[in-house]
C-alpha cells in the first residue's frame, strides 16, 4: 500500500465528470470556485454551501508548513485530495461532488487529524450521476457484489489468523497470515478508497508518516508479519494488535458496500492492482519478512482479472484488439505464476526469497506485458 495514491473515490469524481459531458473539461470554474485559505492553525473556506456538480477548490497555503487538503464524505472516505501544497503556493482541485454533507480538511505539516470545516453541496441528490448503459450498470453491480463478498470471506480468515496470534501460536499464525490477506489484495483499490482503514491494516514500517512511532503507531498485518518472521515471537502487544486488526477489518467490511464504483474506476482499479504488483510484490518489498509476496501477487492478478471479466462485454465491443491482447496476457501471467505453486488450486506459493533474479525479471516482464494494455481498458470502457 502507498498512502499517496489516487483513491477509487477520487478517480470516480473525475470520471463521472467526463462521462457526463463527453469531453475533457478545462478548469473554468472562475468565480464560482471555493477558496480555501490554509495556514498553520486555520482552514478558512470562502463558502460552506455550494451547488452540487463540478466544484473547483482553490487552495492557498498561507502557513509556514507544507499542507494537504481533503474533501471527505461524512464517514471519512476521500472524495478528492491534494498533497504537498508548499508554504506560499496555490493549488487547484476539481471534483464532481453530489448533493450532501462533506468536510474540507487542511492538514498543516501533512500529519494529524487536520483542521476540518463542514460544508454542504446543495441541489438534487444524484444530479451528477453519470448516464450508463445496462451493461455498465450490470458490471458495476456485479463488481460491488464481488468486493462485498471478498470482505465477507476475508473476515473469518483474518479471525483465524488473529486467534492464532492471541493463542501465541507462532507456527499457526504464520500459516494463517497469507490466506487472511487474499480478499483484501484482490480488491485493494476499493479497500484503499477508505482512506482511514488502509493505513491501519496494510501499512509497512517505511510507510509511516514523519513523527509516527513504529512502536506505538504501526498496526496491521505487516507489524504482525515482522513479529512472526523477524522476531519469531508473539508478545502481549501483538495480541492487542490482532484485536485491532479485526476491528479495522470489520469496519472495512461494513463500509465496502458503499464504495463509489463506476465502470472506469473498475478498469483503473484493475490497472492499479497491477501497479501494486509492479512496485511492491515483484520487488519483494511487500512481504519482506514472510516472503509470501507471490500469494499477494496472485490475489492482485485475480482481482484485476475479475474486474476485466466484468467489463469484457463492453471492452470487446469497443476495442476487440485490446480485449484479445488482455486475454492472452492474463493467460500468460497466470501460466507463469502457476510455476510457483504445486497445483492450480493451491495458494501455497514458493517463498519469494527462493525466486532468483532471472525469474523475478521474467515475472516483471509478464506484469509489464499485462499492465500496459490494461491501462487502456478505462478508455475502451469510456468510449
Amino acid at each position: 500500500m502507498r498512502p499517496a495514491r489516487l483513491t477509487v473515490a477520487a478517480a470516480t469524481a473525475v470520471v463521472a465528470l467526463t462521462v457526463a459531458t463527453g469531453c475533457s473539461q478545462k478548469s473554468d470554474a472562475g468565480d464560482d470556485a471555493i477558496r480555501v485559505a490554509a495556514s498553520d492553525s486555520a482552514c478558512d473556506v470562502s463558502k460552506t454551501e455550494f451547488p452540487a456538480g463540478k466544484v473547483q477548490i482553490d487552495v492557498e497555503n498561507k502557513g509556514s508548513k507544507v499542507t494537504e487538503v481533503y474533501v471527505l464524505f461524512p464517514d471519512a472516505r476521500i472524495v478528492t485530495e491534494r498533497e504537498n501544497i508548499g508554504p506560499g503556493t496555490k493549488a487547484s482541485i476539481t471534483a464532481e461532488i453530489k448533493a450532501g454533507d462533506y468536510e474540507i480538511v487542511c492538514k498543516p505539516g501533512m500529519k494529524g487529524d487536520g483542521i476540518a470545516q463542514k460544508v454542504k453541496a446543495t441541489g438534487a441528490k444524484g444530479a451528477a450521476e453519470e448516464k450508463r448503459s445496462p451493461e455498465a450498470d450490470a458490471a458495476v453491480a456485479a463488481y460491488r457484489a464481488y468486493v462485498v463478498a471478498q470482505a465477507e470471506e476475508t473476515l473469518p480468515k483474518a479471525q483465524a489468523f488473529a486467534d492464532a496470534v492471541r493463542a501465541g501460536d507462532v507456527e499457526a499464525a504464520k500459516k494463517a497470515y497469507a490466506p487472511s490477506r487474499i480478499g483484501w489484495e484482490r480488491t485493494e483499490p476499493v479497500a484503499e478508497s477508505f482512506g482511514d482503514i488502509d493505513p491501519k491494516v496494510d501499512v509497512r514500517e517505511d510507510g509511516l508518516e514523519a513523527g509516527q512511532d513504529p512502536a506505538k503507531d504501526w498496526t496491521g498485518w505487516h507489524r504482525l508479519e515482522k513479529s512472526l518472521w523477524a522476531d519469531n515471537k508473539i508478545d502481549d502487544n501483538d495480541k492487542k494488535l490482532a484485536d485491532t486488526l479485526i476491528a479495522d477489518l470489520t469496519d472495512w467490511q461494513k463500509k465496502v458496500g458503499q464504495a463509489e464504483i463506476t465502470p472506469t474506476s473498475i478498469a483503473n482499479g484493475a490497472k492499479e492492482l497491477l501497479d501494486e504488483v509492479a512496485t511492491g510484490k515483484v520487488t519483494g518489498e511487500e512481504e519482506r519478512y514472510s516472503h509470501t509476496d507471490l500469494v499477494d501477487f496472485k490475489a492482485n492478478v485475480e482481482g484485476a482479472q475479475k474486474a476485466y471479466d466484468l467489463l469484457k462485454p463492453i471492452a470487446e465491443k469497443n476495442d476487440p484488439e485490446l480485449s484479445k491482447q488482455l486475454d492472452a496476457q492474463f493467460a500468460a501471467l497466470n501460466t507463469l505464476l502457476d510455476k510457483y505453486r504445486a497445483d492450480k488450486t493451491s495458494y501455497e506459493f514458493t517463498s519469494y526469497d527462493k525466486v532468483g533474479e532471472a525469474e523475478r525479471k521474467e515475472l516483471s516482464d509478464g506484469v509489464n506485458a499485462l499492465a500496459e494494455p490494461l491501462s487502456k481498458l478505462a478508455a475502451a470502457v469510456a468510449k
Binding site: A11, V14, V15, T18, S24, T264, A267, N268, Q325, Q329, E357, K361, D365, N368, A369, L370, A371, E372, P373, S375, K376, A378, A379, A382
Partner: protein, 430 residues
C-alpha cells in the same frame, strides 16, 4: 542515411512521411508556436549543417542541435551520421513466439521512430481521454528533434532454430563473439535479440525515444539491459575537434569519416555480394561495455599514460610527431601501446567505424567511479573487423591493466527504411 552524405543518396529526404505526420499529430515545434513551418525549417537546417561541417568549428554541433536527421534512406541513420552528444542504447529480449507479432512490432517501432526523429510525439500527449494514460509520455514535448537517430539491430538469438523461421537467414558474419582474454562479462549486460541505439544532442530526447519504444513493445519484447552515454568518444566528422575519453585522451583521431563514401563502402556497409542479401546496405554492430579503473589510472604518471596510448595527452600527436593528425610511426611506440596494437597496419587493415560514448553509472559499492567507455563499432564483417583487433588488444595491450570488458553484444543492422511504406527488417521477413 546521414545529413553528410551526397544528396543523390537521400531519396525522400524532404518529402515523404515527416511532413505528412506533422499534419496528423501536433509537432513539438507546433507547441512552441512555430507550426508546420518549423518542420520544414528543421529539414532545411539539416542540409545546412552538412554544408557547415567543413568549417572545423565545434560550434557546428551546437547550431545543428535542433535539426532533424532524415529518417529514410539507403542506410540507417545513426551510423555514418555525425555523432550526437548523447546516447541511450537498449537491448531487448523478444518475448513473443509469434512471427506476425514480431513483424507487427517492427512496423509499429518504425512508425514511431519516423515521428520521433522528426521531432513529433507518438500520439496524444494531453489531448486524449482523461481516464486513460496518454499515448506519448510527453517529456520531449517542446524539445527540438535534437538530431535524434534511431538505429535498430538484430541479435543472433533472433535467428535461432524453431523460433521465427529465420535460421536459414542468419548472416555468416554475425558470429557469436568468442570470450576474449580478460573478459568479465555480465550476462545481465550482454546479448539481446534486438537493439535500438538512440543518439541525440539532448539526453531527454534520446531517453524519451527508448521509453516509447519499450512501452510499445511490452508483451512482445522486454528490455534486457540498457546504457546511457554522455560524451561521444569518437566522431565521424574528423574536422571537428576530436573528443576525449574518460582517461582524458583524444579518442577516434583516425575514425572513418561519415563523408568518406569509399571508406564506408569498403569497411562499414554490407555489400551486395557479401551474402545475406537482406542485409545489403546494412552493417554489423559490436557493443562492449568497457569499465575503466578510473582511480588507478588517475594515479598513473603522465609519461606512462602517454606510453600506454602511444599518443601525447595534450595534442594527441603520435609518438615522435607534433600534430594530432600526423601519420603515426608505429615502430616509435612501445610494442604494447594501445594505438599501435589497434592500428589497421597491425591488423591486416582491419578498420571499424567507432561511435562509442563515455558512461558513468554513479559509483560502485566500493566507492569507485563506475565509469568507462560504451564502445560501439560498426563494420562490414565482424570476423574481419572487431574480432582480429580485439584479439590483438586482449592479448597484449598495456591498457588492459586499466580496463575490463564487462558487457558484450553483437547485432546485424539492417539497411535503411526507404520510404513511408517501408519498415525495419522488411527484407529479412520477406
Amino acid at each position: 542515411m546521414t545529413e553528410s552524405q551526397p544528396a543523390a543518396e537521400q531519396p525522400q529526404q524532404d518529402g515523404g512521411a515527416a511532413p505528412a505526420a506533422a499534419a496528423a499529430a501536433p509537432s513539438r515545434r507546433a507547441v512552441l508556436g512555430w507550426g508546420g513551418a518549423g518542420l520544414a525549417l528543421g529539414a532545411a537546417a539539416a542540409g545546412g549543417a552538412a554544408a557547415a561541417f567543413g568549417g572545423g568549428s565545434d560550434m557546428v554541433s551546437a547550431s545543428a542541435a535542433g535539426a532533424a536527421v532524415p529518417f529514410h534512406g539507403a542506410h540507417q541513420a545513426g551510423i555514418a551520421s555525425a555523432v550526437q552528444d548523447r546516447l541511450h542504447f537498449a537491448a531487448f529480449d523478444v518475448k513473443t513466439k509469434d512471427r506476425a507479432a514480431l513483424v507487427g512490432l517492427l512496423k509499429e517501432w518504425t512508425a514511431a521512430a519516423r515521428l520521433m526523429t522528426a521531432g513529433l510525439p507518438v500520439g496524444d500527449v494531453y489531448e486524449g481521454l482523461p481516464e486513460a494514460p496518454p499515448t506519448d509520455t510527453g517529456e520531449a514535448l517542446g524539445l527540438k528533434a535534437s538530431r535524434l537517430t534511431l538505429t535498430v539491430g538484430f541479435g543472433p538469438g533472433l535467428f535461432a532454430k524453431d523460433r521465427f523461421g529465420l535460421e536459414g537467414r542468419r548472416p555468416e558474419a554475425l558470429v557469436d563473439l568468442e570470450l576474449f582474454p580478460g573478459d568479465n562479462l555480465d550476462p545481465a549486460r550482454s546479448g539481446g535479440d534486438l537493439c535500438v541505439q538512440a543518439c541525440a544532442d539532448d539526453p531527454q530526447v534520446a531517453v524519451h525515444a527508448i521509453r516509447q519504444l519499450a512501452r510499445i513493445g511490452f508483451g512482445r519484447v522486454a528490455v534486457r539491459w540498457s546504457q546511457l552515454g554522455f560524451g561521444k568518444t569518437s566522431s565521424t566528422t574528423p574536422d571537428e575537434q576530436t573528443p576525449r575519453n574518460m582517461m582524458g585522451f583524444k579518442d577516434g583521431t583516425r575514425n572513418i569519416s561519415g563523408t568518406d563514401k569509399a571508406a564506408l563502402d569498403k569497411h562499414v556497409w554490407v555489400g551486395a555480394g557479401d551474402g545475406s542479401d537482406w542485409l545489403t546496405g546494412g552493417s554489423y554492430l559490436v557493443a562492449r561495455r568497457i569499465r575503466m579503473n578510473i582511480e588507478t589510472w588517475d594515479r598513473t604518471p603522465l609519461q606512462e599514460q602517454e606510453d600506454i596510448f602511444g599518443r601525447d595527452k595534450g595534442e594527441g600527436a603520435p609518438v615522435g610527431k607534433s600534430k594530432e593528425h600526423d601519420e603515426p610511426f608505429l615502430k616509435a611506440m612501445k610494442p604494447q601501446a594501445h594505438v599501435r596494437l589497434a592500428h589497421p597496419d597491425t591488423n591486416n587493415g582491419a578498420t571499424i567505424l567507432r561511435r562509442g560514448y563515455s558512461f558513468t553509472d554513479g559509483t560502485d559499492g566500493l566507492g569507485r567511479l563506475d565509469a568507462g567507455l560504451f564502445f560501439l563499432a560498426y563494420q562490414r564483417d565482424v570476423r574481419t573487423g572487431f574480432v582480429p583487433i580485439q584479439r590483438n588488444l586482449a592479448k597484449s595491450d598495456v591498457l588492459n591493466e586499466y580496463i575490463q570488458h564487462v558487457g558484450s553484444a553483437v547485432f546485424a543492422v539492417p539497411p535503411g527504411v526507404r520510404d513511408k511504406d517501408d519498415w525495419w527488417g522488411r527484407a529479412l521477413f520477406a
